[in-house]
Amino acid sequence: MVKPSLAVATSPAAAAPGGLAVSLQGVNKSFGMGNTYLPVLKDINLDVRRGELMLLVGPSGCGKTTLLSVMAGILDVDNGVVDVFGARVDKLSQSKKTRFRQANIGFIFQQFNLIPTLTATENVAVPLIIAGQPYRAALERARHYLSLVGLGERLEHFPPQLSGGQQQRVAIARALVAEPRLVVCDEPTAALDSSTGQLVMEMFRNVALSAERAIVVVTHDNRIFSYGDRIAEMLDGRIVDIHDNPDRVK
């Protein structure tokens, strides 16, 4: 069901089977204008492989969210290469980037960002509706994904009627419903208690992850470190270490 909907230049690394999902080379990003100028990402080089769940960890303010935004194509870089499944995201126009996100990226936010006046099903259907699918078909598919995350009994509930963990599972269903190849999550467990957070992470592994898909999770929640295949550590705008996760739960 993966549909590469954009014809884009393909880099050799990303095109290779079992190759890279994301490849960042020499990425720099700074904020501010005029005199005040804050470098936030400094010469980032990072590969994310297909089929892996990568954790991006580091102290608050080190640039994790910024880096995730760059990968997801919602923030432009100053310079460097941003290659996502063979697409040079840094070179896409804004409108192409918008369509690229719609076809390829799933989003999960710390505060869930579900629309409170839509039912769980409608919320999950939103990415499909954005993609232009007929309303009814989109709802049908949304129900399927809700049952995948164990919310088959909560289809018509509104977000305020659901617990935090349930809301985040709705958000997971929403992130997956359009079959994106890259799922980006910013602190997905920060608003949840420990055991709910574990449940959500298990869902990432069991429902979300597949051989063709990569998941990047930004977190400083060390209770969930064990769910990552690899861990990239950031400090002050740089990747200081990337290593396989010795404690990974199978």
Partner: protein, 375 residues
């Protein structure tokens, strides 16, 4: 995405009702004030409508129907001599003082019509027969403001200028701006009800012959007689324009309409803006998930148009209801809603809604999708 947009809008009942309610109130006040304005101005021209004639010939300097500018008897003959004039009859409209049985005086609008043709007679009689107007001392009373004359019945009498007047009929006459009762009688008798003057007639009512265009006949009358002539609409507007220019009505009501408009604009804009602010993070999320700017603009526009339409409907309905209730029975509310007012308020409402949503639209357009990751 339209459905999503609508659900975002209507899902939150409280906010939705606030928005619709705000627009409704503004439209309501706008329609209500505007209609009172039109109603008041319209009333100034009611004497013209109540008398009703295709062509009015008047003194060149006449500014308003309530003014007395006398004409000469020869003027009547000259008008009759104009080619294309089918008939021309004298008319007399004056303020007169009625002495009531109680001894009090009441001002009336005394209308003296040509006794032979009865041209200028009241449009509809509620009681009595128009022919009786030629009986001795006969007058017909207009129903509007009749209570000021003690609600007389047929057969009742009172005095005008020491002369007897006897009621022979009640006419359905619209309420006018001066709120004086109408008293119809024949031209000959009317001149006896007022102090003698050199010029007695102040209007000539005329009609064009078949096959002659009214405007052409009017132009000919003016050319031949040196007087001014108007068709009924022209006469109405002469009067209404006088009141528009020379009284405080336009300024007073204009200010309140402008205030309603400005305050309404502010309220609606503010509510929309707050609404958009609250939705900003959802719009941000939609943008991140790949919704194009055009789609988001469309959603917001749709929301504002829906609010505008519903609010307009309720506001106009409420305004009409007030007009209906206020104009019923003995109600004295001056209330007239020309379709232009509906069109203007519709355009204004839509403009308010769309303009204020533009505020939020430009926020959404500028919105960096990356903000969705920031708490």
């Amino acid at each position: 995405m339209w459905r999503i947009g609508l659900k975002m809008l209507m899902g939150d009942r409280a906010k939705y009702l606030t928005l619709v309610g705000g627009v409704s109130v503004v439209v309501f006040l706008f329609i209500q004030q505007g209609s009172v304005f039109c109603g008041l101005i319209g009333r100034t021209a009611k004497p013209v409508e109540a008398i009703g004639a295709p062509i009015w010939v008047v003194d060149r300097n006449l500014q308003v129907v309530d003014e007395f500018k006398g004409l000469l008897d020869t003027d009547l003959l000259r008008v009759r001599s104009v080619e294309g004039v089918k008939w021309a009859v004298p008319l007399f409209i004056r303020q007169a003082q009625v002495r009531l049985p109680s001894g009090k005086f009441q001002a009336v609008r005394l209308v003296g019509i040509d006794g032979a043709t009865l041209v200028g007679r009241p449009p509809r009689l509620l009681e009595g027969r128009i022919e009786d107007l030629n009986a001795p001392d006969a007058v017909i009373v207009g129903r509007a403001e009749m209570e000021r004359l003690g609600s007389p019945q047929i057969g009742d009498t009172f005095e005008i200028n020491d002369r007897r007047a006897r009621v022979v009929g009640i006419a359905d006459v619209p309420r006018d701006f001066l709120s004086n009762p109408y008293l119809y009688t024949t031209f000959e008798r009317a001149v006896q009800y007022v102090p003698r003057e050199r010029k007695l007639m102040n209007y000539i009512l005329a009609a064009p012959k078949e096959g002659y265009a009214a405007q052409q006949v009017i132009a000919d009358i003016e050319r031949v007689t040196g007087l001014a002539a108007y068709d009924e609409d022209g006469m109405r507007w002469l009067t209404m324009n006088y009141y528009l220019r020379n009284t405080g009505i336009p300024v007073n009501i204009g200010i309140s309409v402008a205030l309603v408009f400005l305050v309404g604009m502010a309220i609606i804009g503010q509510t929309f803006y707050a609404f958009a602010l609250q939705n900003e993070k959802y719009f941000g999320a939609l943008k991140a998930m790949g919704a194009g700017s055009l789609t988001l603009v469309g959603m917001i526009m749709l929301q504002s148009v829906i609010i505008g339409l519903i609010g307009y409907g309720i506001g106009v309905g409420g305004g009409a209801l007030i007009g209906y209730l206020g104009g019923q029975g003995k109600g004295k509310l001056a209330f007239y809603t020309p379709y232009q007012l509906l069109v203007i308020s519709f355009i204004a409402t839509m403009l308010i809604c769309v303009l204020s949503s533009l505020l939020s639209i430009q926020r959404v357009l500028r919105l960096e999708p990356a903000v969705v990751f920031r708490g």
